[in-house]
């Protein structure tokens, strides 16, 4: 159980690192949103499931409830994170932030 939790947390950290690298390396705002929105939601859910599994290592009813509570955060992130990404993209398009096109310099 603990080993699985460790692996999940490591995978989560890897995807967090990918997300951060993405928002530092991509050329424009919209592609940064791709990196941030996707990597962050998967990575945080992986770490959260890992923490919930690790919490079960001394098994009791109260700990099961706490683990379920942690999983509620994962559900919340899966509703909220795409919504935030969508709202940001929409606002940026309406504000007129220019997308990067092939052959231009990165900003």
């Amino acid at each position: 159980m603990t080993l699985v939790a460790m692996l999940l947390i490591l995978a989560g950290l890897f995807f967090f690192a990918i997300g951060v690298l993405g928002i530092l390396r991509f050329p424009d705002f919209y592609s940064r949103l791709h990196a941030a929105g996707k990597s962050d939601s998967l990575a945080s859910v992986l770490v959260i499931v890992g923490v919930a599994l690790y919490n079960l290592h001394d098994f009791s009813f109260a700990n099961v409830l706490v683990s379920l509570k942690i999983l509620l955060i994962a559900v919340f992130i899966y509703v909220a994170s795409p919504t935030a990404t969508h709202a940001l993209t929409r606002t940026a398009l309406v504000l007129g932030i220019e997308p990067w096109e092939k052959g231009k310099k990165r900003r």
Partner: protein, 112 residues
Amino acid sequence: MMDTFILAAAVILLLLILASLARVVGGPTIGDRILGGNVVGTKTTVLLLLIGILYSDLGMFVDIAIAYALLNFIATLGATKFFLRRRNTDEVLDEIFHQQEDAVDTTKGGPS
């Protein structure tokens, strides 16, 4: 042993938060700054859970994490809504879409 691992994970997460702060401070557009704030918020939610394990009082820190995730979501929504400010989004989107189509047509039709 597990405590050391969790501590290392928390420290790595902190370093990642510092790296994404670069986007908040030096982002060329306002969208980048909001995006950076959102990313930092997501990481902080997870970091709170890890701190909860380290203090071996997870049930308490989960409440804080949920509240933090919620407030982060509301902050992003509020910021985007503030910059939209009663504009007619549909018309603007139509305009952008047609501009892009025209650009594609000219690049295809013209001498390459």
